[in-house]
């Protein structure tokens, strides 16, 4: 599909380009006419309300779902992502929101799933060492890498899923709410990691509901609303602006809550001194 999929990606090159992507699930139109560009060495944040279609978009890029219409170009060539292995072959690594781990396998097996070292005589020692290295890079607190994923805490699982995506040398990393279950330290490490990855010239798409994290790492913030593009912002856009674009109204629960809390604090502070 791509002439030279393994060649290095010059920074700034257009890695991924979506035009008019739509996706229907039965009577529900999850995505309508989505356009999106990601360049090499750029972190694009995808934000939006619950059910806005962010994960659906990521799944289309990962080859999990097929779009109902629209075109996907990867490094300038139009591609059909028929299944996840097609996306992986192109160099698109994904951390899914639902993690997509095999609960019955241990951590090492999950990290290396589909990419085991030494297929005919698994090199468990090398894999275990690499797993520890990756997990320590993420500051993950894991008692043992030889326990099944079913016995891990939510954050530990997420760390495993992130470690998975780092194994491969991808051109583009899709992170669907990668820090949702992570602790403060682990979140910091993941943000560091994203910056390191970006600096290596990879394209990164990150989905998050945490506006602070988004503004900290993103170069561009793309807002989805009810399955449609709803504006592109720069990281210095105000919280207010972003939230209005996400919820579709400037008078929303976030602003109301902020106002109320402000009022309360004023009340409390008034009687004092």
């Amino acid at each position: 599909m791509v002439d030279n999929p393994d060649g290095p990606v010059p920074t700034g090159e257009l890695v991924l380009s979506l035009r008019g992507i739509s996706k229907n699930f039965g009577a529900v139109s999850a995505l309508t006419d989505i356009d999106l560009d990601v360049h090499a060495g750029e972190v694009v944040a995808l934000v939006g309300d619950n059910g806005a279609g962010k994960s659906t978009l990521v799944k289309i890029l990962a080859g999990v779902h097929q779009p109902s219409s629209g075109t996907i170009s990867f490094r300038g060539k139009q591609v059909a992502l028929a299944d996840p292995s097609a996306a992986l072959t192109l160099g698109i690594a994904t951390v899914f929101q639902d993690l997509a781990l095999c609960e019955n396998l241990d951590i090492v097996a999950n990290i290396f799933l589909g990419r085991e070292l030494n297929p005919l005589r698994l090199d468990e020692v090398a894999m275990e060492v690499r797993a520890w290295t990756l997990l320590n890079e993420l500051s993950a607190r894991i008692p043992s890498v030889r326990v099944v994923v079913a016995s891990l805490s939510g954050g530990q699982r997420q760390a495993v899923a992130i470690a998975r995506s780092l194994l491969l040398e991808p051109k583009l990393i899709l992170l669907d709410e990668p820090t949702a279950a992570l602790g403060v330290a682990q979140t910091a490490e993941v943000l560091n990691l994203i910056e390191r990855v970006r600096d290596r010239g990879l394209g990164v798409v990150i989905i998050s509901h945490n506006m602070e994290d988004v503004r900290a790492v993103a170069d561009r913030i793309v807002v989805l609303r009810l399955g449609r593009n709803n504006g592109i912002f720069t990281p210095d856009a105000s919280n207010q602006e972003l939230v209005s674009a996400i919820t579709g109204a400037s008078n929303n629960s976030v602003s109301r809550r902020a106002e109320r809390r402000q009022a309360q604090q004023d009340q409390i502070q008034e009687p004092r001194p």
Partner: protein
Amino acid sequence: MSRQVEQAAPVPPQLDRADVRVKHEAGLSGAIRAFFDRVRSGDLGSLPVIVGLVIIWTVFASINPIFLSSSNLVNLLFDSSTVGVIALGIVCVLMVGEIDLSVGSISGFASALVGTLWVNQGWPVALAILAAIAVGGFIGALYALLFNRLGMPSFVSTLAGLLAVLGLQLYILGSTGSINLPYGSNLVNFGQLLVMPKIVSFGLAAVPGIVMLITGLRTVARRRAANLSAPSTGGLVTRAVAITIVLELIVFYLNQARGIPWMFGLFVGLVIAMHYALTRTKWGRSMSAVGGNREAARRAGINVRLIYSSAFVLCSMLAAFGGVLSAARLASASQQAGTGDVNLNAIAAAVIGGTSLFGGRGSAYSALLGIIVIQSIASGLTLLDLSSSLRYMITGAVLAIAVIVDSLARRSRVSHGRA
């Protein structure tokens, strides 16, 4: 990197011993303590089934000591091998969470094929066997096609196969009814008589211990080099020696009678090969992954269809091979071959041995253990003069007892939070 800095404790010596919450047992005494810990928490692998087996054996032996006579045990091994091979195939499909109800029919069809091609058509015996296995594989490929392309549940496609293949078996045997495999031919001798020379059996019994020791020591060395914790060499040696002693004793006892059947040796060889393939290769990893979470496996880039196909094809091929062995054992290819409870016994053997019907959890050894449980019950009951009604009732009860130990152990594992 960040880890060591944050940890207030002195720099932990090993990558996998950094967490203060985990108790680690060291040395031989530690290994023993860890073992009892595991017993208490119910994390026992196949031990419970073995315990169940020992209970059954003790009871049967106390009723009729002939049960434990070496000649009876040798017969038991002969009988276990045929259905055991079929059960091994069942382990494959169960690993990916599917089922094959037609293994009995396929085994019967394969034995009929060997009979016709070899005895009636005069093909060389090896070619006839290969043809039968190939036809088995073809049937498996058909199931895989129906499953992968049309999404037909394997329960239904293999049920249809059960009937259709039985029809084929009756069809090719139609004119003759059943075919004698020549008594005295190599195949029949293999199925009925051939046992290992004593010296070979003693030698083979030493192999597991030696392999365990060598690979174990290599792994320990590599793990140490990689800054990982490693089991104590003492424990390793103890285990290897213990296993060798147990195996040699068994071999010694069986050599009092005719000795170890080559057919059983073949079966065990297949089990070990399958165990290796399931646990130590990428393919085996993919099988567990597909069985555990098909969608996750797909997203990891595994060719899920190929894995399903390999499972179905392997299962059918082993079923066909098991059918050839049964024909050899019976010295005949008949219309009855593969009917009756072959299906249920093969599936039950895998399940009793601990392979889950729901996919993702299982072991090649479950076929070996399960079939020995089933055949022990059958063999033990033939030593008692029972009317059929009593025999059925007792078989049911004993089967339940054999599994109760395992079920209890599993329960305790769950209640200790290990699912």
